[in-house]
């Protein structure tokens, strides 16, 4: 069935008439829209529809009805009776395959069945929000004809936005990018992509992109700039940097380099520039996202990331998948789709532990709605139950764990039982026991963790306990058994000849950039006077009020970005950057150890330049041209000559990357002809880049739980290497929490977990008492748990807020709130609410949703005040930069006390 748009007057009657709401409507062009099952695409030879070809979860199939029904019957699947109206719909829906276990009914069913969860959130269709979207030009190639977008050239590459690293094909017509599709030549992803990959088309064609260098002419924050040349911008910046270096020392320059810049620049050009300049104060978003798990991996495994792969033979062979604080279905949708497919195929179980009924939890066999910030208690209790009942893999523990006995004795002595954990976590002791026994019994259990675990003051220790849990059950160094936490590291080289790197005289102020604000504001422990930011700290840094005051106090601020945002408004110089296929780079570091190469295929908009170009040119003006060489502006040259000069990357050459149609290589590959390794650390193997005989890349060759050296390191920071339970200080119940003994204005101690030398506050675990800060906040009416995190899959940080279609889908900042809480507060779905914490306040639109703990609200990250469609104050006005993990400097972003009220207009 097709709509003849030339005859449609746009009355909308068909939209109303269709009981399945299968009729779409183009509100801009005023005509009906109907899926025609890609009749044109199939006429050109495609075997399937576009939706089925990219579906991250392979939930959509296309084919002849009878064949699909026969296939379903053969797989034991039952078609759902959905022809209630006897209209004979062609779409077949299959019944869910996994029956709800008895124990799960109480947790899952109410949320799914609640009326507020079964309808579309009102804020998505809010008239002001949608008006803002409709007022802007629609995204290219929206409303273009098929002929206009028929490609004459297709180039494989990858998506550079998120951690799924989807492989894609870029389609060009007359050298104009007209389409992005999944790469069906990829043997792993098989053409599946998440929405963002296709939406990057809107980044490459966005009218909001920065196009030329600008210099501030108004006050900081005002956002008034004048256009200048690249030469003027770089000359002036270089001169100002020299003056600051002369006056305050090289360490007065700070560099905040997020992964927006691309891994290539994040891990090579920017650290090289920092080393050449002589500043230790360079970091990225890791301390807000992942530094806790990175430290935990480094000290336990000796390498960042799991050694397993997203293959049916490896992760696909697990019997149990446990997601703890990881909404993989939204954050890495294609990977989740693969896991879910294998799980359904093999009858494996899936359990999700999360304060919210996330997209991931909604697919799981069980959802355990844990109290935010108490995952460590759950992990300790799981371990205790396994150890106390001898359910662990004793042989693996004896052979491959260093310090196992010390840790086991500690756990048993502390009596971290399921009964102990139950009131802390809000989960039933029986549920904890059941999960522990399932993990221990499974022939392959994969524990997935992510930001829900990382973004806490106990980040490192919780990650370690979960790693220990995997290890004692033998789920490490085997197929189908692993501890995963988002990305594995991509060990690129950023080498600077020793004689060219000036001696760094002072320690890095703090690992977390949020810890730099006292240095910016008050010159303590020493002054930071200049900041080069390649990201959007005005949305990302916790404690925005302090961050903004600090930025206003700088002598020089340079912002390298794709789009103008709040950070840009504070900059002295605003430099337009290129991205993805405009510059050539690799995809993000991802779970699967795949390095995805992206060629430079088009020129960036206007005068925008690649980040490497900018650093090389700035370096020239500071005398670094002999190291940051002119030829490195070509990313392929830079890659082969510099970046892969590490043991595990040497074989990942341009030649090898371009020898495969999917453009990726799974590392480590020490030589160009070294085979890719599906599963690292298998018994009987030696770590590819390590000393002979070592199974794991630690110094001992074993997984290290506890050693006297490690204990000494932790002691430096006031902690023990044997993880003791603590949570966050802002909780609805009084729990032990972390108190930092030094402020950011003090030097603290040199962290034993960082390189280069980095200042760190020491910490101490404070037991609940009469002066518990949480109790004080509760007395002030802060009676709700605030959880922050990633919005749905169409968004990623602030990038996608400049994408027309992402905005159309998810326009406004929202606050997920349980119906019971909303009713108590007189808040209706779609109403504007004010959310206040002890650190600030913001407003958002209420999304009344039963899939969240009744005591909690959830507000996503990514929105900002200067975004072109629907600007909102970012959620980091509610967060607190002082709540940090002393080990990794990771900030707690997952549980703060807040109060919510309806905004009376």
């Amino acid at each position: 069935m097709r709509v003849d748009e030339s005859r449609c007057t746009g009355c909308g009657e068909c939209v109303m008439a269709c009981p399945y709401s299968a009729m779409g409507y183009d509100a801009k062009g005023h005509h009906a829209v109907k899926c025609d099952l890609c009749v044109d695409r199939r006429a050109e030879g495609a075997q399937t529809t576009a939706c089925a070809s990219v579906c991250p979860t392979q939930a959509i199939r296309f084919g002849k009805r009878e064949e699909l029904l026969a296939e379903a019957r053969a797989a034991g699947r039952a078609p759902r009776d959905q022809d209630h109206f006897l209209l004979g719909p062609a779409t077949i829906y299959l019944e869910r395959t996994t029956p709800q276990p008895v124990g799960a009914v109480a947790a899952v069913t109410p949320a799914r069945a609640h009326p507020s969860t079964s309808r579309r959130p009102a804020f998505m269709d809010g008239v002001p929000a949608q008006t803002a979207v409709q007022a802007q030009s629609p995204a290219f190639p929206y409303r273009e004809t098929r002929d206009d977008t028929a490609p004459d050239r297709v180039v494989p590459g990858g998506c550079n936005i998120c951690f799924n690293c989807c492989t894609v094909k870029f389609h060009f017509k007359n050298n104009k990018l007209v389409k992005i599709t999944g790469n069906d030549d990829d043997p792993l992803l098989k053409g599946r992509v998440c929405p963002k990959s296709q939406l990057t088309l809107q980044m490459y064609h966005s009218e909001h992109r920065l196009r030329y260098p600008q210099k501030r002419v108004g006050a900081r924050g005002e956002g008034r700039f004048e256009r200048i040349s690249w030469d003027q911008a770089l000359d002036e910046i270089a001169e100002k940097l020299k003056k600051i270096r002369d006056q305050y020392g090289a360490e007065a320059l700070a560099m905040f380099v997020g992964t927006r810049t691309g891994i290539l620049d994040y891990r090579t050009t920017t650290p090289m520039f920092a080393k050449l300049f002589g500043t230790p104060n360079k970091d990225g978003t890791d301390p807000f996202c992942a530094s806790g798990k990175n430290v935990a991996f480094e000290i336990t495994l000796g390498s960042i990331g799991s050694g397993n792969s997203y293959t049916e033979n490896d992760l696909g062979s697990a019997q149990l998948y446990v997601y703890i604080g990881d909404n993989q279905a939204e954050t890495r949708p294609v990977y989740f789709g693969m896991i879910n497919d294998w799980r359904l195929k093999h009858g494996a179980k899936m359990v999700a532990v999360d304060p919210r009924l996330t997209a991931t939890a909604s697919k799981a066999d069980r959802w355990l709605p844990i109290r935010p910030g108490t995952d460590m208690a759950l992990a300790l209790a799981l371990a205790q139950h396994i150890l106390a009942n001898d359910l662990h893999d004793a042989q693996f523990c004896a052979d491959w764990l260093l310090g196992f006995a010390e840790w086991r004795d500690f756990i048993l002595q502390k009596n971290y039982t399921p009964e102990w954990a139950a009131p802390i976590t809000g989960l039933a002791a029986n549920d904890i026991r059941q999960l522990a026994e399932e993990i221990a019994a499974a022939d392959g259990c994969v524990i997935f963790a992510s930001r829900g675990i990382n973004q806490h003051t106990n980040s490192t220790q919780t990650n370690r306990v979960l790693m220990f849990l995997s290890a004692i059950t033998g789920n490490w160094g085997r197929r189908g058994g692993a501890y995963f936490n988002m990305s594995a590291g991509t060990p690129l080289a950023a080498k600077v000849p020793e004689h060219r790197a000036p001696k760094i005289n002072k320690q890095r102020v703090r690992r977390s950039p949020a810890g730099w604000t006292e240095a910016m504001l008050h010159g303590k422990p020493y002054p930071i006077r200049a900041l080069i930011s390649c990201n959007n700290p005005m949305a990302q840094w916790p404690g925005q009020a302090k961050a903004r005051a600090a930025f206003a106090a700088l002598d020089l601020m340079v912002h390298i970005e794709l789009f103008a945002n709040e950070t840009s408004a504070y900059a002295d110089y605003l430099l337009p950057a290129a991205s993805g296929i405009e510059k050539g780079e690799i995809g993000r570091s991802n779970d699967d150890r795949r390095v995805v190469w992206i060629d430079k295929m088009i020129d960036p908009p206007g005068e925008a330049k690649s980040d490497t170009w900018i650093w090389v040119e700035l370096g020239k003006r500071l005398g670094f041209g002999d190291v940051l060489k002119e030829e490195y502006k070509d990313p392929a040259v830079f890659w082969d000559e510099v970046c892969i000069d590490t043991p595990s990357m040497k074989g990942c050459t341009q030649k090898r990357l371009h020898s495969v149609p999917h453009r990726w290589v799974r590392i480590p590959v020490p030589t160009e002809d070294a085979p890719e390794i599906e599963t690292l650390y298998l018994e009987g193997t030696t770590v590819p880049t390590g000393a002979p005989g070592r199974r794991f890349p630690t110094k001992s060759g074993k997984l290290e739980f506890w050693t006297p050296e490690l204990e000494a390191k932790f002691n430096t920071l006031g902690l023990s290497a044997l993880p003791e339970f603590y949570s966050e200080r802002e909780q609805l119940v009084d729990l032990p929490y972390m108190e930092l003994l030094e402020t950011d204005a003090e030097e603290g101690v040199i962290s034993p977990f960082c390189s280069p030398a980095t200042g760190s506050a020491r910490g101490r675990i404070v037991a609940p008492g009469p002066d518990h800060p949480g109790a004080k906040l509760r007395a002030q009416g802060f009676d709700t748990e605030l959880v922050t995190g990633r919005p749905p899959a169409a968004h990623f940080h602030s990038w996608t807020h400049y994408f027309w279609q992402s905005q159309e889908m998810w326009p406004d900042l929202y606050c997920q709130i349980h119906p019971e809480k909303a009713a108590q507060l007189g808040i209706r779905d779609g109403e504007r609410v004010k959310v206040e914490s002890a650190h600030g306040s913001i407003e958002a639109m209420a999304w009344v949703h039963a899939g969240i703990r009744p005591t909690a609200v959830f507000i996503p990250i990514g929105w900002g005040e200067r975004q072109p469609y629907n600007p909102w104050r970012p959620v980091n006005f509610l967060t607190d930069k002082t709540q940090r993990d002393p080990v990794s400097d990771q900030t707690n972003l997952k549980v703060l006390l807040c109060r919510v009220s309806r905004v009376v207009v």
Binding site: M1, G10, G12, Y25, G29, H31, H84, F85, V127, Q134
Partner: protein, 259 residues
């Protein structure tokens, strides 16, 4: 065939122009010659006739759209908008500024028609767009009786359709003007069945009331306007004295023709 969609911005510009023209006329009419303030004067009479003629275009649009033979319904739609707005301006002028008399209700109906149409096009269309994949009834199983009635209805429709339009398919068929002209009884019967089916499907109830009812309301107002026009023409022609309420009968056609 290229589609010449009337963009929201153009629609709003046309509307603004109509509003400005009407406001200007009401503001300036005191300065105009007496004839422009005298009901039924040749100037106002002809203005009314011209306005009514323009307002026939929407009628023609309905015929073109529902008749199934219009070459380009989108152009007809655009013409219906442009002519309605122009006609509204002329009818406003035709009123002579006498807004407290019953005929002013016709102008009111026109204004309401225009406002509703503009709302639907500019704002309501977003709600229509948001309907996609959002109807909960699709996932609710109707009771046995409803399902049986639906089965019977579909069977009756197919049987009727075999006589009404043998080449048509029940799933995609809707009754249009030629069917009513050719076989009014069958067409009416079919439409009755289709309406009952719609009611049982619950499709109108599944969307917000403003989305479900704006169009029936728009059409009802249009019919009310047509009815009002007929009453107006009849009363001023055959009951002129009553309309003049004891005053002079100033309308030109009666005076000129010696009525």
């Amino acid at each position: 065939m290229p589609r010449r969609d009337l963009a929201d911005s153009r629609l709003l510009q046309l509307t603004a122009a109509a509003v400005v023209l009407m406001a200007a006329w009401f503001a300036l009419r005191g300065f105009l010659p007496e004839a422009w303030r005298t009901p039924g004067s040749p100037e106002l009479y002809l203005t009314g006739v011209a306005g009514a003629a323009l307002l026939l275009v929407p009628v023609a649009f309905v015929v073109a759209k529902r008749g199934g033979s219009g070459a380009n319904p989108v152009n007809w739609f655009n013409a219906h908008v442009a002519c309605s707005l122009a006609g509204m301006v002329l009818i406003a002028i035709h009123s002579g500024g006498f807004l407290r008399r019953p005929p002013a209700l016709l102008l009111l109906a026109l204004l309401a028609l225009a406002a509703l149409g503009i709302w639907a096009r500019v704002r309501g269309s977003r709600r229509i767009a948001a309907t996609f994949a959002s109807k909960a009834p699709a996932f609710r199983v109707p009771d046995v009786a409803t399902r049986e009635r639906l089965r019977a209805l579909i069977s009756e429709k197919r049987s009727l359709l075999a006589r009404l339009d043998p080449r048509a398919t029940e799933g995609t068929f809707s009754v249009n003007l030629p069917h009513f002209i050719r076989s009014p009884r069958l067409a009416l019967a079919y439409r009755r069945l289709a309406r009952e089916e719609t009611r049982l499907l619950g499709t109108r109830a599944a969307v917000p009331a403003r989305q479900a009812w704006w169009r029936p309301l728009h059409m009802a107002l249009a019919w009310l306007f047509v009815l009002g026009i007929v009453i107006h023409v009849v009363t001023v022609t055959f009951f002129a004295g009553y309309v003049a309420d004891g005053g002079p009968i100033t309308w030109w056609h009666l005076r000129a023709w010696g009525g």
